[in-house]
Amino acid sequence: MGYPQIFAAVLAVSVVLFIVSCIRRFRLVALGKPEDRLSHVWTRVGNMLLFAFGQKRVVARPFGLNHFVIFWCFLVLAVANADFVIAGLNTQWGIAAWLPTSISGPIFGLFDLVSLLTLVVIGIAIARRLFFPPDYIEARSKDAFVILTMIALLMVAFFGSHAAENAPHLGFQTGFNYLPPMPVSNAIAHLLVGLPEATIHVLATGFWWAHAIILLAFLNYLPFSKHMHILAAIPNCFFKRLGRANTLPTETFEVGAEYGVGRVDRFTWKDLFDSYSCTECGRCTDVCPAFRTGKPLNPREVVHDIKVNLLANGERIAAGQQPGLALIGPHAEGTIAEDTIWSCTSCGACMEVCPVFIEQMPKILQLRRTLVEEEARFPEEVITFFENMEQRGNPWGIAPSERTKWCAHIEAKPFSDETEYLFFVGCAGAFDARNKQVSLAVAAILDAAGISWGILGKDEMCCGDSLRRLGNEYAFDRMVRHNIELFRRRGVVKIITQCPHCFSTLKNDYRQFGIELDVIHHTELIQRLIAEGRLPVNAAAIGRVVFHDSCYLGRHNGIYDAPRAVIRAATGQAPAEMARHRENSFCCGAGGGRMWMEEHLGTRINIARVHEALETRPDTICVSCPYCLTMFEDGLKDVDADPRVGVKDIAEVVAAALPAQAGEEAKA
């Protein structure tokens, strides 16, 4: 379209600007601490293909299909625009010049149709934001409209320039009249027929330059907007964690060391890269129990604040200066409030839905570490929990000698060489009046199946789960080392827990301290025993049972089928399901140490979940976690529910279905 020298100059400036912006921004990621995200390259390539190019998680939500189409249109149009740029520098280098028309024709036809498709899906995206925005995102952000408008205009310019270019070839002139098969552009071209040649030429040139300028403007807008995800999201799927983010890194305690993250460069490079990958879709916000009950935590905003903080402080930190914008403090863009940090239940729902595998939860828990370990700042009720844990090895501060009270009337052997499994009763199972009944049910089941088990009695100590989630890694570290020493001394290898928190902590967190334990939660053990025919159960209908997935059994450890199979075996029918179940289960509100904290802000999480459970009209709400049991029982009382609706641990449901002989023991 002429003026290739001018275009070359404009292009050079734009590309240099774009590269400089990108380098300036992505260079800051290197300020983060090291973290290995390069092992198992081929698995990572597979993840990238599945989640970035296949958009597996994006399409998991109804509107994700629209994004899937936009994404693939973009890939096709990336080729179209590359050709546009190359041909703009020299027409002889363009596809049209060196490919036979039998090949270049269909290619341009594809570009044409894809551009129309793009215009349609962009139109849908704009309409969605204007007329039916979801309640969980600031969908009407300026950023979104700027980008969508730019893309739409780019398509318009594409059609305009091709229509003007093709109009003279519409068969009314003599000579060579090749018309590329571009249905949309050609249809528009028909409208131009009859205009003077000079006008058509001006239109062609005008649209061509409009296309060029919008394209280069778009390129240079990207690094400064949330659409930076176009650059970061694909690699972020490659760098995604291969396991589950159900632990935190350990810390080294030595004079001069730093704890947690109090400054943005103390995150790992991957944490920082995560913040660049976020496109602010708001799915994490949508599923966050804290956000959904009016608490000042929005996981998307936490990630956004990290990005803003990095961009604000990065250059100064790189130059060895102190940051100007605080990472933790009264909320402002780029600063995360303490109330935000303490609102997290560590349920992991945010990480489960993020289409690009941003890990919100570990970042929040790292912020807690700094508050607790470096500044001793936390909600005041937590100090009692910390002191009880450190002085008496359990959250309530009850004397360890009381750990065996739950089994005063049954035979519970001390764990020794003669017993196979350690039944790690857990603090709730040993001290909480209601949960002691669950411990008895588990014991009855183990006996009915002829399992050889023993307990540590007063020597058992809390696993430390809440300490770690509350950011007190120092106390957690000491507790773990004490417990590991005890396990080694007593020869503990196989452990049964009745609490998903004990289960996940002993299984996943303790491994970081150099001990491999064979840990099983009672749900899975029962399922295995039933499947192997070792546990006799007489399916007994107990009405409608709805099952609530605990976060630490479900999302954090992927156990969804076992509890459902067990309920089916014990009650003769599959459990009813709440609207949010399995991967999408909604937290009871007690995880992440929230069990030991007051819930002053917003409405109560357990009440929200209780209402959801009651919608299924259950006779029994079945849980698999002591925290969930407490939260549901409290919640049912608070909403004044029908007193006939009961909450039972899955072990109690099974114990009630044991044949009479075994049932005797359960009752005892």
Partner: protein, 270 residues
């Protein structure tokens, strides 16, 4: 100026049981903690440091392992700690204990003027509440017990104003310094130590003052200096209560019986 917090390492009494045969405390395997009231005394000392810029010294009389408790004081923010430990101090009653603590405070005062001495109102193992007042008497300092608020220190006039928590009332008292204050739990919420402070405390040298250093007259300290003799420790028999009425089936009737009984014993003022 110096604030001195007197702290004691005690067995965690919630974990102490009494041997039913010998009627003595079973201390084996029972962990030691800082006397809970003393954690409030230490915290108040640290708050005076924050308010007036004093230095805080924490002292404790006890066996060598009491240094664990002094490390906790360091971790919380005490500027210095001293362990008063000597076989000659052993077996002390409250009189002999206050002798040793007073001598230590006198030594500290020679180096840096002591403004206030803070003690918990009592310990959870001895429960006498005598050591604080004993120190005040030995040193001739003002004695202010059961303090739940330090309202003001007038350093120029050398006067202190505190609020005392008494049965059903508060008493605001102004008195000359130096003063010994014994504090109740309501006075504050003790702080939680940061990890860097803990690590520093773990590695600190804990100075130990034996009687070779302190040179207190041997007949005034330890068992020899203790006129109190404990004859026996035992758990009191408790009378079993009586179940009135049938609360499960007739709660109203049971409640009426209970009210009548309480009124007959003059336990329910109307």
């Amino acid at each position: 100026m110096l604030v001195v917090a007197c702290i004691k390492q005690v067995p965690d009494t919630t974990q102490v049981s009494i041997d039913p045969v010998t009627n003595t405390l079973i201390r084996e395997g029972v962990p030691f903690i800082m006397n809970p009231y003393d954690t409030h005394a230490l915290e108040e000392a640290l708050r005076l440091k924050d308010r007036y810029g004093f230095r805080v010294a924490a002292i404790s009389m006890g066996p060598p392992n009491a240094e664990v408790t002094l490390r906790k004081a360091l971790a919380a923010g005490a500027d210095e700690v001293v362990l008063l430990s000597d076989r000659a101090f052993g077996g002390a009653d409250t009189l002999a204990t206050s002798q040793v603590l007073s001598a230590a405070i006198t030594r500290l005062n020679e180096r840096e003027e002591v403004a206030v001495v803070l003690c918990g109102k009592q310990t959870i193992d001895g429960d006498t509440a005598q050591v604080g007042p004993g120190i005040a008497t030995r040193l001739g300092y003002t004695q202010l017990t059961l303090v739940d608020q330090i309202q003001h220190l007038d350093l120029a006039a050398r006067r202190v104003r505190v609020r005392r928590k008494l049965e059903g009332r508060h008493e605001i008292v102004e008195a000359p310094m130096p003063a010994v204050l014994t504090v109740v739990r309501e006075i504050n919420r003790p702080r939680y130590p940061t990890v860097p402070m803990r690590l520093a405390a773990e590695q600190a040298e804990i100075p130990v003052w034996s009687n070779a250093v302190m040179t207190i007259a041997p007949e005034t300290i330890g068992l020899k200096g203790s006129p109190t003799k404990v004859n026996r420790i035992f758990s009191p028999e408790r009378d079993k209560g009586e179940i009135l009425g049938d609360g499960a089936h007739d709660p109203d009737g049971a409640a009426e019986l209970l009210i009548a009984r309480l009124m007959s014993k003059d336990l329910l003022p109307l």
